[in-house]
Symmetry: C2
Subunit: 647 residues, 2 copies
């Protein structure tokens, strides 16, 4: 059956111009300044975006509002100083850090059979990324994982970078009186997370060494801006993209990647299963400042022509090397799908819904052998540590509907993932654990507590979970609800779900919707856990909202363009953006305007409660104190002065 859409099946070479043009939106964030937090050496500079604010008018005076720092995933794309050329790839930020450790060597070319074959393939010549460097690999006997360094007591530049990035200059903000009100924050309920007041490089090192966090950072992905995934840091989100046999082109996938990080994806998984997946991946990695994850079994299966039974360890191994040498930062490996767990899925409504899980289950049954990903796990670890690829231990038996949640198959596999975590850690290989899926609310917390217990506090990385199955077309929302909760309970990274889940492949607008939904979930979790500084942006936006600084309200939001568009749909005039009311209520019914008027009225009184010339905002409390003195003349004065309150 051929259902491909001609429009989507072209394989154009990406170009930045075409991306901006196609999407009709600017990469640059409005009212934002890209800055960097300087580390201990010149070449350690972690990005941060500062959102500029308009001043507040207080009487005749303008009082400045300070810029609001936000975590920045967009990489060089939002830096006006850096010229982006997608055909050359991003600047190689980590190249010197990797080289100076002197524990790697550069190969003359790819060492996988498939990698070699592809580099010589003439049919894909025109699609190929032109500036591929020869890959690096650990020198014989060396381990180049961040976990290895951490356990040696070394704070790598990656760790220091991450510490700066997580802290977002909070120490400076605390010293600046302009941030005093914005820094007010409710205590969190941490569910056992240990959130430091300020993240230091040493704290990062300890967390990596303990296995509670990972920095996915393949030595062949020097373009990467390091980030950390762990329960004691900001909750992160992943965005999936990738073509399928049915749809999509390289151009589209690169475009989705760039827009994903612009909207806030912390990592990207390339789940391509269609044509040219090797070439597509190269384009994506070379242009991605965020870690790229893959599910290597997809490509391995593709190499068999789609016959799961024909998969072999040798072919899979070659695929791991091929992808590790391209620079993939984490691999989903379904090594916990054991033969004995497969029967446990028999009474499920939706059986096995993980693609990787079902492939391995089929292989196991067809061969009557144990999963080779499990039996060859030590050999996989050897590859992982030679490039510093992190494990994302796949939940091949995750539930595909709420009825199947938290069952023996799912938790049986989870126990095996814990066993494999311990094994990987013996190799100093970084690990995170994948989680479900579809889980009703009352069963979500158990997923987190079981994971912490059986997987030794390795970071949890969950898909949703979806809290109900009845809303196809809205599964970004059914899952966003579950994601916010499980993020609060301790999940370190949330894998997004788009509105097209279960129905089709996401386009750019679906990616946008999915990412923003998950930014909400992750930020909601940070607030609920009590992450220091997390409330600054909320407070700033709320203050802007109350003061009718519309532009600031848009710019401080997760999606300024959407906010502006929605506002303009009702009140398109430019004047409406400085109006002291909004379209929901109109001028007479605006509560914020009325509250402001009450405050303004307070400002007309002096300390003795007598009218004076307005000069500054006085808290409403003072008015009310006057009120309780029962001064009837205030009422008369109010009427006299305020009879025309709406201009």
């Amino acid at each position: 059956m051929s259902a491909s859409n001609p429009k989507n099946s072209k394989n154009e070479i990406p170009s930045l111009k075409s991306l901006e043009r196609d999407f009709g939106q600017k990469f640059a964030y409005p009212a934002s300044t890209k800055t960097y937090l300087q580390g201990s050496r010149e070449d350690i500079k972690a990005p941060i975006r500062m959102i500029e604010q308009l001043p507040t008018r207080v009487g005749e005076e303008l009082v400045a509002n300070p810029p609001v720092p936000v975590y920045d995933t967009s990489g060089p794309y939002s830096d006006p100083e850096i010229v982006i050329n997608l055909e050359k790839g991003l600047p190689r930020l980590r190249e010197a850090w990797i080289a100076e450790r002197n524990d790697t060597e550069q190969l003359s070319g790819p060492s996988s059979e498939y990698g070699v074959a592809r580099s010589k393939d003439e049919a894909t010549q025109e699609l190929r990324f032109a500036h591929i460097s020869a890959p690096r690999v650990a020198k014989s006997g060396n381990n180049v994982s961040q976990m290895y360094y951490a356990r040696q007591g070394i704070v790598t530049p990656e760790m220091e970078y991450v510490a700066l990035r997580e802290s977002m200059g909070l120490e400076q903000l605390r010293k600046d009186p302009a941030y005093k009100q914005l820094l007010k924050q409710h205590p969190g309920k941490s569910y056992g997370a240990n959130l430091p007041d300020i993240v230091t490089g040493e704290f990062v090192r300890q967390e990596i060494a303990a296995g509670r966090a990972i920095i996915p950072a393949n030595i062949n992905h020097p373009e990467l801006e390091p980030m950390i995934i762990g329960r004691n840091f900001r909750v992160k989100i992943n965005g999936n993209l990738g073509n399928s046999a049915v749809t999509s082109s390289i151009n589209e996938e690169v475009e989705k990647m760039v827009w994903s990080i612009r909207w806030g994806a912390d990592t990207i998984m390339d789940l391509s299963t269609g044509k040219h997946i090797h070439e597509t991946r190269e384009w994506i990695i070379r242009n991605s400042p965020v870690p790229i994850g893959t599910v290597p079994i997809y490509q391995a299966l593709d190499k068999t022509g789609g016959i799961a039974e024909d998969l072999t360890w040798e072919m899979f191994r070659d695929t791991l090397v091929e992808q590790a040498e391209q620079g993939v930062d984490y691999f989903t490996i379904h090594a916990g799908v054991l033969l004995r767990y497969v029967p446990l899925t028999a009474d499920r409504i939706t059986g096995i819904v993980s693609r990787g899980g079902s492939i391995m289950a089929k292989w196991c049954l067809a061969h009557h052998k144990e999963n080779f990903l499990y039996t060859k796990f030590d050999e996989i670890c050897e590859i992982m540590k030679a490039y510093d690829v992190s494990f994302s231990l796949g939940d091949g038996l995750r539930p595909g509907c709420i009825a199947d949640s938290n069952d023996a198959a799912q938790f049986g596999e989870l126990h095996t993932l814990g066993e494999l975590t311990a094994k990987a850690w013996k190799h100093d290989v970084q690990v995170m654990i994948e989680g479900p899926g579809h889980v009703p609310m009352q069963r979500i917390e158990e997923n987190m507590t079981e994971e912490l217990k059986h997987c030794l506090e390795a970071p949890f990385y969950t898909l949703g979970p979806l809290i109900t199955d009845i809303a196809p077309g809205y599964d970004h929302i059914t899952s966003g609800i579950g994601a916010a909760q499980i993020g609060w309970y301790g999940t370190a990274m949330l894998c997004y779900v788009t509105p097209k889940e279960h129905l089709g492949l996401p386009d750019k607008e679906d990616v946008r919707e999915g990412i923003i939904t998950y930014k909400i979930a992750a930020h909601g979790a940070d607030l609920a856990k009590g992450l220091p500084g997390a409330q600054v942006r909320d407070n700033a936006l709320s203050k802007a909202r109350f003061e009718f600084r519309w532009e600031d309200q848009f710019n401080l939001g997760l999606d300024p363009e959407r906010a502006r568009e929605y506002h303009d749909a009702t009140l398109p005039a430019e004047g409406a953006k400085i109006a002291h009311f909004c379209s929901m209520c109109g001028p007479k019914f605006c509560s914020m305007k009325i509250t402001q008027e009450v405050r303004d009225y307070a400002a007309t009184l002096d300390a003795d409660g007598n009218p004076k010339v307005p000069s500054k905002v006085i808290p409403i409390a003072e008015v009310a104190q006057e009120a309780t003195k029962g001064m009837e003349e205030m009422s008369a004065e109010f009427r006299k002065r305020g009879s025309e309150i709406y201009q």
Copy 2:
């Protein structure tokens, strides 16, 4: 300032045809049969929608799947037997029930000054609903509230109707073997809710008598299909609509109402503050099968020309009578905004954000008097019980940002609402309590526990809450997350938020997005609480998904049209809807297809593990048991038979 949009400011008379045409979608639900559950008398028939399913193909046989019952809010609009004429209004279902109680009398016309004046106003003649009946009122000395009847030990037709509606024929389903698998359900975590196995009329009566639930049902809204709001019943959702000074017409508001109930709104609040709000309300009530709520202070303020200080008890009282005689089922009354609480909002970032709350705060300060809604509360109760209007005690001091959540102002007001609840119950007047607003996740549960404690378990009715302030344009999602949680903790009704919140007035598409989001939250809460039967629809949809019954997957969802549209965006061909794969993965990578193949393979084996002609689906468990016997020939046989698995 005039920012009105000419397109939106026309005031056309609504007509059903124009609604369907304008929206380009059919009111009728796909593959659905409107049926009724028969009560103890001929005229008690509660609606239920049965979603028909396609059969499952098992080998050569077709095995029927039973129809799935879903709660139906759409009223006569989805009944093909009933001819809808918006100009005449809906059938008057409750008219006989009200009359037979013989405790009301029909007036000769409206008894409010404003109602009389409006009925004679020539300027609005052409907009006026043509078939207004003269209102009814309790006979002198009578109380016509459902709470009064409940406390007398009477199970009214309304209560029996509600019991049938809530139970959804669950008792019959349990006896039918076709529903056995669909009825499997995880235990809930109820947070103290007492969900009966089957809802009976007597249970409803007890809950109403205790004040734990309300049936908003004005005697002047006989078109109403009764529904119940209480923690021990299905979680309900409310959709807001209403024009403002800036935008919207009668036609649009009626259209939003009709589409809202079609998508699943359980009640509608008409928050109009613009032109012709009396006339708009009449059109809405006469055509609404769901309870209509209002905030009477908005109209009262409008009558003063927008001057809060000019509000008087007399004018407000007249407004209550005016609206009660039109048939409004519940009134939001901000009687808890006391003078002494206003100063407590002084240090807030967003002050007072409730429109009603800010109006009353301003009135209190301007007059240096206590809120007249508080001081006249007993007189308000006298009106409520004469028409059976329920209180929705407004949270005028709710937080407008997460920083302001759970503060002294908010909880001070909540205590007063509890005091007023006790007072209303002395009059046998039904009460629910409004709640926030903006609350980060870790502070949501406290809202529920405080409400239960101080408001004596009266039903809680919350707006969201929004768990973060940083996503204007996505506040249906920020609030949907909080709504799911607070619904789980015990909130009885969730007031929706649309994507336009904080930015503009919602159009029909925004209303759709808001309602579906809140249906997800409410259903997620039902599942989490363990509401009997709640999982049937999830199980049915998941089974359909696993069996690639695409049409059933669409039809069983909350928004069939959206699901179909998204599916068709990737694979538009009709053939794709019976394809055994979907566009996310394509045919090779479809986990469900692979799982099905594993099951099919199992079916090729007889009880001794020998190949036989396939006849029925055998659970995967049996295959795996064979596998563990280590029969190598099975592997060979599998390859022989299954070498071409993808047709």
